[in-house]
């Protein structure tokens, strides 16, 4: 199809703005020297060796664990709402989707600060909980708060892909299953859920990836009591000035994420080697 040629401008763009910067990052990762001065660079894998220590691997492990749990929670909370919205009439559906997206246009830092007001010792949520008798639990500066913040931030990214797939689903299949005697639970688990898997995979990807490299949420809501890999990388570039170590960690993180994505794409039979999209 002659339309293919249309893609070439983007290839040029990709080459310039994505490939070259990637090569730059790899160059930084495999060298050491004064980060601000190219002429001092010498080839070395010492930063990779430095990372392979209990201290830094522990940081990676904690980040992955947190990202994994928050992704699961997003899935558990997001799927039902996607289902509910997809069953509404188109007019209402569109409004609901927009309502889902609008909060993301408010500054992220400000919204996270607002959670501090809600979750603090004198915060509104804490007061609500004690009014129904639950006293003394700390809602802030712990893993729970961080998870809450992450779910808050990433939930729309889980809901939208699943919603998109659910709306495209062939209603006849559902009706056929019901006609053949399946009850609601069976219809869901044997027909709807499997068909929505591509959306679920996309949602998981769109949540897990940023969740692994997040640091603002864990910083503000976790009281900075625990460094995550996102903090570490950010620190290297914006405080310590060791761009080599920072790039090394970025490459390691990238490889890790690509590997996880390769694993999850095994679950998506429809992809057939590269139809890959967000949703």
């Amino acid at each position: 199809m002659k339309l293919n040629r249309i893609g070439y401008p983007y290839l040029v763009w990709l080459g310039m703005f994505i490939l070259i910067p990637l090569l730059l990052v790899m160059y930084f990762a495999f060298t050491t020297g004064d980060s601000q001065n190219f002429s001092t660079f010498t080839f070395s894998i010492e930063n990779f060796e430095k990372f392979m220590s209990p201290l830094y691997l522990g940081v990676l492990y904690r980040s992955v664990k947190l990202a994994f749990v928050s992704t699961l929670i997003c899935l558990a909370l997001g799927y039902p709402i996607a289902l509910i919205i997809s069953k509404e009439k188109p007019k209402i559906r569109n409004v609901m989707v927009l309502m889902l997206v609008i909060p993301m246009w408010m500054n992220f830092l400000l919204r996270t600060y607002a959670w501090l007001t809600l979750l603090g010792k004198n915060g509104i949520l804490t007061k609500v909980l004690s009014s129904i008798g639950i006293e003394g639990i700390s809602l802030l500066y712990n893993d729970t708060a961080v998870l809450l913040g992450m779910v808050y931030n990433f939930l729309p990214f889980m809901v939208l892909p699943i919603f998109s797939v659910l709306t495209k689903m062939d209603k006849n299949l559902v009706e056929a299953a019901e006609d053949l005697g399946a009850n609601k639970a069976e219809v869901f688990w044997k027909v709807i859920f499997p068909l929505s898997l591509p959306g679920v995979i996309t949602g998981i990807t769109m949540v897990f990836i940023p969740a692994v490299s997040t640091f603002v949420i864990s910083g503000l809501l976790g009281g900075n009591k625990s460094t995550l890999i996102g903090n570490l990388i950010e620190q290297q570039f914006r405080y310590t000035g060791d761009w080599h170590f920072g790039s090394t960690m970025s490459i390691i993180l990238m490889v890790f994420i690509l590997a996880s994505m390769a694993v999850t794409s095994k679950f998506d039979k429809e992809k057939e080697g590269g139809g890959g999209g967000l949703w």
Binding site: N4, L19, R111, S164
Partner: protein, 263 residues
């Protein structure tokens, strides 16, 4: 199995969850105190101070200028790219796709520093153009990834049929392909706009003097403390956005009705 009231309650809870912080922001924009610790009384002084702040207007202007321009360009570039990628096969397709994914995979700071280094190597003067290029770079992948599944879903023979019937490739593109993938294009555009409006790190390292956006303005206050005029600003932005969307929604309702009546 699941009755309607339960569904309603759940939907309400989820939206309450999403909007709770925004409501807090709005409430505290009227708080007569620099601190979020306590409610000290109702005041409009932050709104008054906001209108006297010369920098906020400038910063707001650039935020929207960049967001709108970059999302339009990214959407066009992304659509064209998606169509091109869709037609590819095999290893080429896989590697292009993975390359495309990179800005999505990388932490913002890495993309920021890499782009900054690139622009330096190219001896570019930092300013509006470099900022715009940076925003387009991190937005296009999301646009592409929004449109590809729609292309996959589209009947591949539609465009061919159009061309068999005598349409030129451009005509087939405009009248057949684009309408089919329009939902993906719109989603991609919205996503690009959202990412651009809230970006700090990439913007900070790729912009030049005189060009700043709202995120940079806000994050720069991290050491001293966020001035409550920002809460006032956010409240106004929120109200405007909601109003804008309501207007657009009601206008599209009107035009649909008119079309229906004409039939």
């Amino acid at each position: 199995m699941v009755n309607r009231n339960l569904k309603r309650l759940y939907t309400f809870l989820i939206f309450a969850f999403l909007y709770a912080p925004i409501i807090i922001l709005i409430i505290y924009s009227f708080n007569d105190s620099k601190f979020r610790g306590d409610w000290s009384g109702f005041t409009l002084r932050w709104y008054a101070e906001l209108f006297r702040d010369r920098e906020v207007i400038r910063v707001l202007y650039y935020t929207f200028a960049i967001a709108i321009t970059s999302s339009i360009i990214s959407t066009v570039l992304g659509t064209v790219a998606a169509i091109g990628i869709h037609g590819m096969r095999g290893i080429t397709k896989k590697s292009i796709l993975n390359l495309n994914y990179l800005p999505v995979l990388n932490p913002d700071i890495v993309t920021a520093v890499a782009l900054m280094a690139l622009f330096r190597m190219a001896r570019l003067q930092f300013g509006f153009i470099t900022l715009l290029l940076a925003h387009i770079t991190f937005s296009v992948p999301y646009v592409v990834l929004s449109i590809l599944p729609k292309l996959k879903q589209m009947n591949v023979h539609l465009a061919e049929a159009a061309m068999d019937l005598g349409a030129t490739p451009m005509y087939a593109l405009r009248k057949v392909v684009i309408p089919e993938i329009m939902p993906g294009i719109i989603t991609g555009g919205l996503l690009a706009f959202t990412l651009s409006i809230d970006d700090f790190v990439i913007s900070f390292f790729t912009t030049g003097h005189g060009i700043s956006n709202l995120s940079i303005y806000i994050y720069s206050m991290a050491r001293k403390g966020i001035n409550p005029t920002i809460n006032a600003l956010s409240t106004l932005m929120f109200i405007s956005l909601v109003a804008l969307l309501l207007i657009i929604n009601s206008r599209s309702e009107k035009s649909k009705k008119i079309i229906q009546e004409r039939r």
